[in-house]
Amino acid sequence: MDLVSNLALGFATAASPANLLFCLIGVLLGTLIGVLPGIGATATIAMLLPITFQLEPVSSLIMLAGIYYGAQYGGSTTAILINMPGESSSAVTAIDGYQMARNGRAGAALAIAALGSFFAGTVATFLVAIFAPPLTAIALEFGAAEYFSLMIVGLVSSVALAHGSIVKALAMVALGLLLGLVGTDIYTGTPRFTLGIREYADGLNFVGLAVGVFGIAEILRNLESEKTREVLMARVTDLMPSRDDFKRMLAPILRGTVIGSALGILPGGGAILAAFASYTVEKRISDRPQDFGRGAVAGVAGPESANNAGAQTSFIPLLTLGIPANPVMALMIGAMIIQGIVPGPNVAAEQPRLFWGIIASMWIGNLMLVVLNLPLIGLWVKLLKVPYFILFPIIMAFSSVGVYSVNANVYDLYAVAFFGLVGYLLLKLRCEPAPLLLGFVLGPLLEENLRRAMILSRGDPTTFFTRPISATLLAIAAVVLVVVFLPAVKAKREEVFVEED
């Protein structure tokens, strides 16, 4: 069996002492930032990217992936204990998880979340292992036109999943694409939009943009109103869920895993959507819908499994096509490029150790999280009490060092400040930054493939509609766009995102 030997190679890679260590560091860091307020996985990974330079490619990607799913765990911990989701995907967990904690069942809620996540993570890891190779085979058939259409699907989905106004999200995509084009034109060598600054000839630094728009803008928002956070904490006792809990969490976990795995593959932030979808499903089919919002076990188990499965399967488009499904995946692409790996379908064939190592490390990382987090709960709870004004100078110092160490280019630091301001402005203007970052990453690729496709078709734009795969992809994009503009869906979508806030 190919799958078995591939997975064996993966586990052999991921289980080397060094990689185990980096996986551990990753999940611990991830949990830490998931618990701490005001700093998300995106900003952390952006800051740590440069440091991973020094590591082997496999180790660095394993660590970054660990931060990502570690943050999901940490986020659910704070959602349950203090009703404050550390990551947006655990917002749903807060609804019933916090109520369970108030009923004195914090321990059980945490354990249910952890076990559900672990189960979903395990299943999703296998799904990635099963589906990645055939998808890679399809992706190898892709020409320039198909890549172009696929990226359009990705961008449109990111618009559909953004908060607030759809028109603004579309504008963010366009702005991101334009910013991505800053730098030297690859075909002619002409500098574009560099305002005469030679240091920007290689383009704007991706890490600088991400740190500014996600990290600094978030700090500024937190500084608007400084309040002491109330840590009204129930003491965490009795981690073991009762037999009744087990019976009631089983089906929601299974359903959550299925929903999450399917939605995670969608570009644009599947984990968040998956959690909401799972909650809605559980509430609808439950025989006791009145329990939801008052501490229903299913309301924790389902969404937690769904968001973890979604986080895991969002690696599928990254590993097979080199297309990021969300901002974190976009950063992973950045990390691969820094390491000299061209993301795309060739990774599986040319770097099997890397490819399968990452997949195997996801399962190991999830195991570590279950084993570590439940006993370490006390420590994370203490960290919740760290005041914010201690945190942000630390974040500022680390991000300055991090951004500078990418290219030792001081202009990147000026870009950080500039994009911090831009990011804050966008927050104030109620614009979502995620589509902007996705656009920024895809901008150069999109243009390159568009130009190549046009040259290949001798200037005939119908090439995008006459090639079957490309036409299908564009049709999907059009359907998604039409659907989000439908009045009924629009109203529902607004309702969902209001709940989240």
């Binding site: 504008a171 366009a174 100078p393 300055s400 001081v410 243009e447």
Partner: protein, 153 residues
């Protein structure tokens, strides 16, 4: 109510995006456009800036109809101290060297919060600098001068 009112946030947002779109369009015209067959460096950016300008106008027009929440407070103090921190680091990391540049960067950032006491700020910045030097300079061997030419005797 017959009077025309605007949602300021959206009006501002639409206006800014339109302006940015027009700026990019103006810059694109300075580049060779080419044809759809052989696109020049300016073709795709021009299309994009057209889209951006159009979307900006749509948001601007909508701002007269749809109303949202007000903008809320603005972190003036935060902006005054947070944004200069990386700029300061950029300006001084070569001259002063890694250690002093990082110390002052952290110190500047500290004052963004009105709850930070000066003594605490110095202590925190010192601890942070020591930690970073150990991790980045000695641990990860990043090739920066710890003390630059400006502070050498």
């Amino acid at each position: 109510m017959k009077s025309i009112s605007f949602d300021t946030t959206n009006a501002l947002c639409g206006g800014l995006l339109t302006a940015v779109g027009l700026f990019f369009a103006w810059q694109s015209f300075g580049l060779e456009l080419g044809t759809a067959f052989r696109m020049g460096p300016g073709y795709f950016p021009l299309v994009l800036s057209g889209v951006l300008t159009l979307l900006g106008v749509v948001i601007l027009v909508q701002s007269a109809r749809v109303h949202g929440e007000p903008m809320g407070p603005i972190a003036i103090r935060g902006m005054l101290f947070i944004l200069p921190a990386p700029i300061f680091f950029g300006l001084t990391v070569r001259g002063l060297g890694f250690v002093p540049a990082l110390f002052f960067t952290a110190l500047i950032a500290c004052f963004a919060s009105h709850r930070m006491r000066p003594l605490w700020a110095v202590a925190l910045s010192l601890a942070l600098t020591v930690f970073s030097v150990l991790v980045f300079s000695y641990g990860l061997q990043l090739p920066y001068q710890r003390f630059g030419p400006w502070v050498r005797f």
